[in-house]
Symmetry: C2
Subunit: 337 residues, 2 copies
């Protein structure tokens, strides 16, 4: 199929500010004439027994069919008897790698101006096994599960990513000096994969030391790959270096080439519906989605328009210290296209 | 006993640069006329069957008897059949809380100049249980253990510390949205203790969000208390904010009031014996030890001398960008006393 054929993609606008920032993406895509037709799905208002969560079976089927999607923030409703929306998506779609490019934004000043790294997080197991129980009163345990299969899969993704994106080094982050068997297995798998990529440098960094190095000198890192919880922690730390979750794209890769890009910030109910939300994270995530679809020209154009708008500094939303509305900021991006 | 009675304290100079930086502490204490008599113990050259590590039984007995000690870096010899030196100390002496004050050093520039927080880490259980096994080929698990007893104990320590050190807030760091039972129990214990300290504000912060906030604005935090692994990660992250492990003091508190202060940086074998090491972390740890002994006058004098020497910037060791030897830097501190 040629690049101008229409591609169907699932869109989860999500809750809170989700629909507003999703509107922003739709407008930018229209302006840039991206050949994508959205299939919109909302979080249901009751638990779907087939998914055990407020996500409907149909919405999951939509991603499975389209193999590509974009997701806004989803606040899991409080209560029992259902699963977290984010965890349901990861489990049901087998989204095994969470990929977050993290780059300093020109013109948006933080304490760091030299961040240019990618975190790749194993997204299905580890400390997120859900296996916990009380041993005796006052003593509880949770199980961290590391498998050879999931470790090889995410390591393979990381090295392949490094190779195809002109990256030079992969750092495996671990705490194998303490968790010799679990993190040890993760490292063993990374080493096996590293052997197949002699052109990519490989190193192993203990997580505590990694965090110290990241805050001292993030330029030391290139591609980082790690088990689930370390990825959760380090990807947020890295987002903090460049200004926060409102500015960082994220994309989840699933078995069989599914890609679900997402804004990982919250649904900010306090400002929902007020035309104040910053759509940058969702927009940059939509760029990740376009790259996954090999629509690099469109991706480059949109990314440049976003970055130039932020760099100019004339239109910025409140979270970045400006006074622009979501729609003004979006319009400014469209004007740059 | 009056403050001028001699107090016996155990000193583990440790390996690598350990003996040189311990010498620096001894000299500063002599100059400041600190009424301490050191009982020095070195790491043995073979495994002591009574401790299952290279630490001798006598050295542990020394800390148990003196109830107070200072420890340089100890590199655990590689090989099987023995336990890590640091973990042996924590287990055998029941060092349940690791306390690390983290303050920006006036005159030593990093990207942050407003760090003034304390991390208090549970030091005996959690992910450090040592319980791991292979379930089937390619599937391994490790157990994280959280107990009511250890959680209450460290929470109590944190709130008591906050109260007696003029601190206003305790933040409990957790991932209870994922590990509801283990981290949930930890939080439950923190809440129970918080009730007893109505004058201290209490909040709960998810670890990923905490790391993001720390790199964006560390001034948001005051006292942080957390399970073992999060403490390992966050205390190193915080050290990074002010310049690294070479500048941060640490003190371990054990059951029955034992205090073992320690420099948490490595033994730096590459520069050992070259009179290049920076003794600051061990010196500041020795100040923590003096405070534990209520020798606040001596502690203040020594701390001021260290901070003034660093602030002046005339004498700095290589790791801080200077050219001073360990002995010159130490002499400069003594001259400030
Ligand atoms: C909301 C939470 C369950 C989630 C996680 O821990 O994975 C979030 O922090 C993330 O990184 O997507
Ligand atoms: C050396 C290592 C076992 C240790 C730990 O993980 O506790 C270290 O990182 C520390 O913080 O003292």
């Amino acid at each position: 199929s040629s690049a101008t054929d229409t591609i169907r993609a699932t869109l989860f606008p999500g809750d809170g500010i989700g629909p507003e920032i999703a509107e922003s993406v739709k407008q930018v895509f229209r302006t840039a004439e991206v050949p994508i037709e959205w299939e919109e799905h909302y979080v249901g208002d009751q638990v779907d027994p087939r998914t055990q969560s407020f996500l409907t079976w149909e919405s999951l089927e939509s991603v499975r069919r389209n193999r590509v999607g974009l997701k806004g923030p989803m606040a899991t409703p409080i209560g029992k008897g259902h699963r977290s929306l984010n965890l349901t998506l990861r489990k049901e779609l087998n989204l095994y790698a969470n990929v977050r490019p993290c780059n300093s934004l020109p013109g948006y000043k933080t304490r760091y101006d030299d961040v240019n790294l990618i975190t790749i997080r194993e997204n299905t197991e580890g400390e997120y096994s859900g296996l916990e129980h009380q041993v005796v009163r006052g003593v509880v345990e949770s199980l961290k599960i590391i498998t050879r299969q999931a470790s090889l899969r995410v390591a393979e993704y990381a090295f392949h990513y490094a190779k195809t994106h002109g990256r030079e080094r992969v750092s495996a982050i671990h705490k194998a000096n303490i968790m010799q068997k679990t993190d040890g297995l993760f490292l063993k798998c990374c080493r096996e994969v590293a052997e197949k990529y002699p052109e990519i440098a490989y190193e192993e960094v203990v997580i505590d030391n990694c965090c110290m190095m990241l805050v001292k000198n993030p330029a030391l890192f290139d591609v980082l790959v790690m088990p689930n919880l370390y990825g959760d922690i380090i990807s947020d730390l890295c987002a903090g270096l460049i200004g926060g979750l409102g500015l960082t794209p994220s994309c989840n890769i699933g078995e069989g080439g599914i890609a679900l890009a997402e804004a990982v910030h919250g649904s900010a109910p306090d400002i929902a519906g007020k035309n104040m939300a910053n759509p940058t994270a969702l927009l940059l995530s939509s760029v990740s989605m376009l790259r996954h679809l090999n629509l690099h020209d469109k991706a480059d154009r949109i990314q440049d328009a976003i970055l130039n708008t932020i760099a100019e500094g004339k239109y910025r939303t409140a979270d970045l210290g400006g006074t622009s509305t979501t729609t003004d900021f979006t319009k400014a991006i469209c004007d740059h296209l």
